[in-house]
Symmetry: C2
Subunit: 221 residues, 2 copies
């Protein structure tokens, strides 16, 4: 089992390449999951792997996925097939003197487990609030909340944050000793998902101000 | 077979949810593949799906993946297992009056196929150049190119851009008719992966200027 501070590891979830970059620490994993907006969800049907980008929300030690109640993807996942849930934040390019040592700075999470259908209306509403918080903190109390018909049209699955790991690279490049003498620029180019200026819906009444959570929008702490 | 302008579609690659958002157009697919930096590569081992973030490069109608010659991941892929290669660009948040109609603007590509080991030294060098171009156009001619020892330590796989599709959402939210009267802000919040100020390697000699392809760095056209 996982303890309270760390995720569990089995054969499938062991970090093999550069294990010093790996971590099972819940706090780090939650921070990465909370900063990202899109997960890449992998599953297998008749030996064929599929990787689908999906929005998600986190509530404590579980993630929520959602979609239309007729979605074939969700129908497959709710059958309890094995899922690999991966999230990646790209933090920068690592620019070395040699092309061989070019790299990227990133924070990623790879989780393993099975998804489960959420049946209770109360948990569904909680999950939808988690989605809304994940996307835009503060939006839930401003917008029209889901009605019972919309709730019925939405399928929600929960996925436990139980097994898996984070992997993180930070810092400058690491060149071969003899290359440091070369007159070649080296360092990092930071990258970040950045919000632009909000675009009004053409059908918006002109007297509605842009909420502050959009003008000040940013990901991460 | 795929024709010259469009990727082929089979049962596994048919866009089922919101098919009007799908496209097999090569030009669109290449544009998305060229703008992104990280793919999420899915494969299955003993029924267990894995989704791993990987850098890649494109050269014409093929993608290249690379890693250490001892990488277990690449050893698995080169055996010719089925691979799902997914790339997602998040372009913005779609902010509706109702929470139900919140969405994201995105451009994604999902490809299906098998990877193959690249054996020839010449193709390996070409592939490494494609990686370099994908990451930082112009860098290849500035940095120290790979020597034969580094080439030997690097395993490169090629993956055909042959079957799959793009999926794209753009534009404002689409609310229920009766919700347009609500006094709630609606529109889009554009998102973009943006470069910050280059960070010098602490070991860099002080008289080396930052190349222009880093001070002017941006993704997409």
């Amino acid at each position: 089992m996982s303890d309270s501070n760390n995720l569990k590891v089995t054969k499938r979830s062991k970090v093999r390449r550069l294990p010093k970059r790996g971590s099972q620490e819940r706090e780090l994993i939650y921070n990465i999951l909370d900063e990202a907006l899109v997960a890449h969800v992998g599953f297998t049907v008749d030996n064929q792997p599929f990787v689908i980008p999906m929005a998600y929300g986190r509530e404590g030690d579980r993630l929520y996925l959602h979609g239309s109640s007729v979605s074939r993807l969700l129908k497959t996942l709710e059958q309890g097939v094995d899922v690999c849930f991966t999230v990646t934040l790209l933090d920068g390019l690592v620019i070395a003197r040699s092309l061989f040592h070019h790299s990227m700075n990133y924070r990623s999470v790879v989780l393993f487990g099975k998804a489960k259908l959420v049946e209770s209306e109360a948990e569904k509403m909680n999950a939808l609030q988690a989605f809304s918080e994940q996307m835009i903190s503060g939006r839930w109390s401003d917008a029209r909340i889901p009605n019972s018909q919309e709730l019925k049209a939405t399928k929600i699955l929960s996925f436990p944050i139980e097994e898996g790991s984070a992997k993180v690279r930070t810092g400058p490049p690491s060149d071969d000793l003899e290359d440091y003498a070369l007159p070649i620029w080296a360092g990092e180019l930071p990258l970040k998902l950045t919000a632009g200026v909000p675009v009004f819906d053409p059908k918006l009444a002109s007297n509605i101000a842009i909420p502050e959570y959009l003008t000040n929008y940013h990901r991460g702490v």
